[in-house]
């Protein structure tokens, strides 16, 4: 029964927090949200009364890295999240029960909390061949997703797989891997990244719980809180970029001084993610800081925007070397060749034209002379006539 379930305050109390600490915690939450202090009462209230929100975490076509990333969260630490903040009623990666007991846990959570549970989805859904590319308990992932989406209060797409299909959707997408928003007609909070940053994941869950609202999303359904800036915009190597100081080859002197990785194919300028600010594993580092360019792992279709070590990707169908520049130089060479051929042909034609023009000129001269002569004759006649008048 819901009213018997302990509130966040109760579980904090059980963990030995004092009432003062609890109120302080609420105060921090309010300040972090930028709410007016009158909002404090509301937040305190919410934490005191609510049972832990039920959560169902589904797993489809994935590498389970998003789960792995999630458990790396350092604030909040993941045991606080899964034991005190919410009720993780289904997740194949961690739950005790297997088989039909596991499925029952999921179905119970959905039935008892119709319209109230949070649905977290990791992995994409293959729709090829009636969904036989991902089956759980004899059912297709599409079927499971649709059932679970129906009664969900909020739906989160974890990682690039659920948000945009990720690697299995890379050309030629053999299983027709499909991101979840294409299969359900409810709003989906997309948290792309391969995987997303742990603290971003837990922050998005707690954002929903603390502030009882879905974080503001951009036009592509990503929380602005973490995806409104490019990695490049806040990259600590940015001064090197602006100064035109680039790593030219791996482990050269420039690399050892941390110059910009743009020429090594860094996709930071095209990639919206919080890596350069929030960083990874308790704010320790991020790909660029460890010397490798960003591969754009939070961008839709990033696998097909490569190769990764080229500033610009290749156009599909032209092979791995065909960048805009190879296509462009080929076109320019063809055009220059055409011009040359044309010019040569024109030289020949021009001779013909000149002859023609000469003939024409001669003709027109003859005509002119004729006219001149005629005119002179006429004039003489007129003069004569005039004199007569």
């Amino acid at each position: 029964m819901n009213n018997e379930v302990p509130s966040i305050w109760q579980s904090m109390k059980a963990k030995g927090y004092s009432r003062r600490e609890f109120l302080f915690f609420c105060g921090v939450a309010v300040a972090a949200a930028g709410l007016k202090s009158s909002g404090l009462a509301q937040v305190v209230d919410a934490f005191e009364k609510k049972p832990r929100p039920p959560v169902v975490w589904l797993h489809f076509q994935e590498c389970t890295c998003c789960s792995e990333s999630f458990i790396r969260s350092s604030h909040p630490i993941v045991s606080d999240i899964i034991f005190d903040t919410l009720s993780l009623d289904y997740t194949e990666t961690l739950q005790a029960a297997s088989g039909f007991q596991a499925e029952k846990a999921r179905d119970d959570a959905m039935k008892n909390n119709m319209g109230k549970y949070i649905l977290l989805v990791e992995g994409s859904v293959p729709t090829g061949e009636n969904g036989v590319y991902c089956m759980i308990g004899g059912k297709t992932s599409e079927q499971i997703l649709k059932e679970a989406a129906e009664g969900a209060a909020a739906i989160v797409a974890w990682g690039s797989c659920a948000s945009n299909g990720c690697i299995q959707a890379a050309r030629p997408n053999p299983t027709n891997a499909t991101p979840i928003h294409k299969l359900i007609d409810k709003p989906v909070i997309k948290v792309p990244g391969c995987p997303p940053i742990a603290e971003v994941m837990t922050a998005i869950v707690t954002h929903v719980l603390l502030f009882e609202q879905i974080p503001e999303l951009d036009s592509q359904g990503r929380p602005k809180e973490f995806y409104s800036r490019r990695v490049h915009d806040t990259c600590y190597r940015r001064p090197f970029y602006d100064a035109g100081l680039f790593v030219e080859s791996w482990d050269d002197d420039a690399a050892r001084q941390g110059y910009c990785l743009y020429k090594m194919g860094c996709k930071g300028p095209n990639t919206y993610n919080a890596c350069s600010v929030t960083k990874w594993n308790s704010n320790l580092s991020y790909p660029i800081q460890a010397g490798h360019g960003c591969i754009g792992c939070s961008e839709a279709g990033f696998w097909d925007a490569g190769p990764f070590y080229q500033h610009l990707g290749s156009f599909p169908g032209f092979g791995i070397e065909s960048t805009a520049d190879t296509i462009g130089t080929t076109a320019a060479a063809v055009a220059a060749g055409g011009v040359a051929v044309h010019a040569a042909a024109s030289v020949i034609r021009k001779r013909k034209l000149v002859l023609e023009q000469r003939a024409e000129a001669a003709a027109s001269e003859a005509l002119y002379e004729e006219r001149e002569a005629a005119a002179a004759g006429k004039k003489a006649e007129e003069e004569e006539g005039g004199e007569e008048q």
Binding site: S219, Y241, D242, L245, K263
Partner: protein, 231 residues
Amino acid sequence: MATTRVATYQKMYVWELPVRLFHWVNVLCMIALIATGLLIGSPQKIFDAAEPSQQYWFGTVRFTHFAAAYIFFFNYLFRIYWGIVGNKYARLKEFIPYTREKLADFWTVLKVDILQIQVRRDLAEGHNALAGFTYFIAFVIFLFQVATGFALYSSMSGSFIPRLFVWMVPLLGGDAWVRQWHHLSMWFFIVFALVHIYLVFYHDWVEGTASTSSMISGWKFRKPNEIKRDD
């Protein structure tokens, strides 16, 4: 006798000053944009300081690109405007071979100038129909370049014009693809300029109509018997 030939040419005012201004501003922007764009795409070691605080050349290159981009954009808008209020040679409809007459001209130009399988034709006063049409395509690609450019720029600028084009990003499948297309369509301009400049000189050379200098002076020359329309 040379003097006799002069008498057969007619001098006519085709390109108004605004069209000529547009043209040369456009050419300058284009040169700047291509040069800086190529550098943005594959930066060369131009200067080589030890510390980033000692130089800002790449930032300057990008700034030049964006500044030229704004000029390019407004110049373009101005030309559209002039295409509505300008003289008959400047009109936008000149770009599209929509009349039967123009279509015929289109094919003859193709046969006479490009394929050289036919020798004579009547000359248009403004653009010929084929040239007009390539300008039409160029204008469309200008717009594409502006849209992709400002779409990329929108992540660095919150101002009004870049924001107008943010929709390009999801349409093309993310910033990486916008950048690729932006880069690829640069090559259209390079190819266009190559062919265009050649043809301008070519026409002058074959027809002797002073087409080269017409974009400076505004005047063209025609033999009366070669002028197609006489209004």
